[in-house]
Symmetry: C2
Subunit: 367 residues, 2 copies
């Protein structure tokens, strides 16, 4: 369905068929510039997470601005970036099992790939595969900084895995990563700040123990959009892994306004069955609701009361404007990453014109 | 990414790479047979909703069993079915705006297409486009049976639109449809029964008024999986639009056990960072959570406590089995339709072997 869209680049935005994933190019550019400028002035690397955009197009804009590389969640997502010309990739998940490890090694033979580990058996598997293909694979040990997802505990468990990596042929021990995913989405800055500080205490204590064991760290990577200016301001952190800042979303905007909303889903009114009701042609198959209902932009008082698979039911306020059938309406999703994952194209808009239509190369790359 | 999967058909299911959308072929076949047998014995047509599977492969199995045609939510979804050889399609949403209407008319020139309307201006647009292309387009008027989404009210408003359709050149008035979407998911049968009866009272009263105005009805279409045996048992209903019954899902299984669960997402354990915790490689980008957290199958006491974009965090019970890193685990999504919409392939399994890998042709077809 790669041509399932209208119109072509160069057309006025009013002609866009719906639903469409629309990016405000100026806002995204500004977000890219602003985050990079912050990192540059704080002497920390920016390694943007590609799980948000899944697309070489945006990765290259981030790299041109000064990013040191991209992150990816999965091997296939990393492939989509490397295939599009990105050469520095950190895979922030553990890669388990022979088929995925073989893919990973192939990828590492044509890009500089760093992968996360938290288990010595996995270290052995990676090492064997790397040696068999004469490939040099970068490895960071993932530390559980309080998210209680993957990762080793700081101290002896982390140090043991780090030593195993360092001793394993074919593997290049790069350092540690930790992701304070349990903190980045808190709405109050003070909560994010204290949460990130506690999380980074764990990462730094893990780093101390690893260095004390004689293993120098090139990489100490952490952070997300919500904690960029806390985690990124810490002396020893080498780089931050922010993803959402490029487009923001309704949920992140409740937490911080340092970056501009750049992502909307354009929908159309397909029914006006009652004076206070409009039904739009975008539902759960084009806007995620895992962080709540999308917001309606441009119609004061209008509110999404329910979202079915292909419809949004919008309640119109008595005093607000009443859109006609056929009118196009912009919706702000509460969660960008999971919304983007359902689309095949970005419609990139600048000053009212469709500037480019970008295929989402990493769409569905969850393996 | 159409080859982003392993292994090939004919392989043992243990070799499947994860996450993978797995269909138990025997269960799906039995569901198709059982729903069709029920409809046959109750003298009602079955017009399965293609929004669930989005795939000619499953549509043809339903048609071979005896279905009278398929439903689709969107023009592009209908295209995916017609392109795969399905010739009878009812589009259950209003199709608004010139680009989509042009697509619809092209589709109607190569299949028997019926479309829903609820607005006289839309009737004029459809008629003009059909006449310009000398195409005959079937039309049903959508009645709001209490869902408060799209649709006209029973009585004069519905009759007025029906008359407009009947009078419009290029359009063929087929009848009425109503969808009791506010009722189908209730967990108690008695609630579904009384709710569907109320909803169908509205549809039948609309039908009475339309017939009294001299317009005979070929089609009086309604119903979903949760109400098949209530709505489908009503004398005047010509066909029911059930979709989910083919695979079922965790949420529907809480309401009825007439059909077997056929759909799971296979995931793998990628980390065992604590004795009571396993982390799987499937998250919100491969399993929807719009109706709740997926269930873990095959590990007694195991429970998904959180699902991030690419990870499921599973709490293991003290007494239950503890899966190793690398072990594959089947997850039952609470909502099939929105889970399927994120995948590119079905992995169809029979007796432990991968029987076929089916591309989801209608994936992303939300226009």
């Amino acid at each position: 369905m790669s041509t399932d869209y209208l119109p072509l680049p160069g057309s006025p935005v009013e002609d866009l068929d719906t639903p469409a994933l629309v990016i405000d190019a100026a806002a995204a550019d500004e977000n890219i510039r602003k985050m990079q400028a912050w990192c540059d002035s704080h002497n920390v690397g920016l390694r943007p997470h590609g799980k948000t955009h899944k697309t070489p197009f945006w990765a290259h804009r981030q790299l041109k601005a000064g990013a040191i590389g991209l992150c990816a969640s999965k091997v296939s997502e990393a492939e989509a970036l490397v295939n599009g010309g990105v050469s520095e990739i950190m895979i922030t998940s553990e890669i388990i099992g022979r088929p995925k490890i073989q893919r990973l090694i192939s990828l590492a033979s044509r890009g500089n790939v760093i992968v996360a580990v938290d288990d010595e058996a996995n270290v052995r598997d990676l090492s064997e595969a790397a040696v068999a293909r004469s490939v040099d694979l970068g490895v960071v040990v993932e530390v559980d900084v309080g998210q209680n997802r993957c990762g080793t505990l700081p101290g002896e468990p982390t140090t043991a895995v780090a030593k195993a990596v360092d001793a394993a042929p074919g593997l290049r021990f790069e350092g540690l990563m930790g992701y304070e995913g349990h903190v980045v989405g808190k709405y109050e800055f003070e909560e994010r700040k204290s949460g990130a500080e506690q999380a980074m205490d764990r990462l730094l204590s893990a780093a101390d123990a690893v260095e004390a064991a004689g293993l120098p760290l090139n990489v100490l990577s952490a952070g997300g959009t919500g904690t960029y200016n806390v985690t990124g301001a810490m002396d020893r952190i080498t780089d931050i892994q922010c993803g959402s800042y490029i487009f923001m979303d309704g949920d992140y905007l409740l937490a911080l306004d340092d970056f501009r909303p750049a992502l909307t889903v354009l929908a159309a009114v397909i029914s006006r069955p009652a004076p206070d009701r409009a039904v739009l042609d975008a539902g759960r198959k084009s806007i995620s609701i895992d962080r709540g209902m999308p917001r309606v932009l441009g119609i004061p008082g209008a509110e999404v009361v329910s979202l079915s698979e292909e419809h949004a039911i919008v309640k119109l306020s008595g005093s607000g404007r009443k859109p006609d059938v056929g009118e196009k309406v912009a919706m702000l999703p509460m969660h960008g990453d999971t919304t983007i994952a359902m689309h095949s194209h970005y419609f990139v808009v600048r000053e009212g014109w469709l500037e480019s239509v970008i295929e989402i190369a990493g769409r569905g790359c969850f393996r």
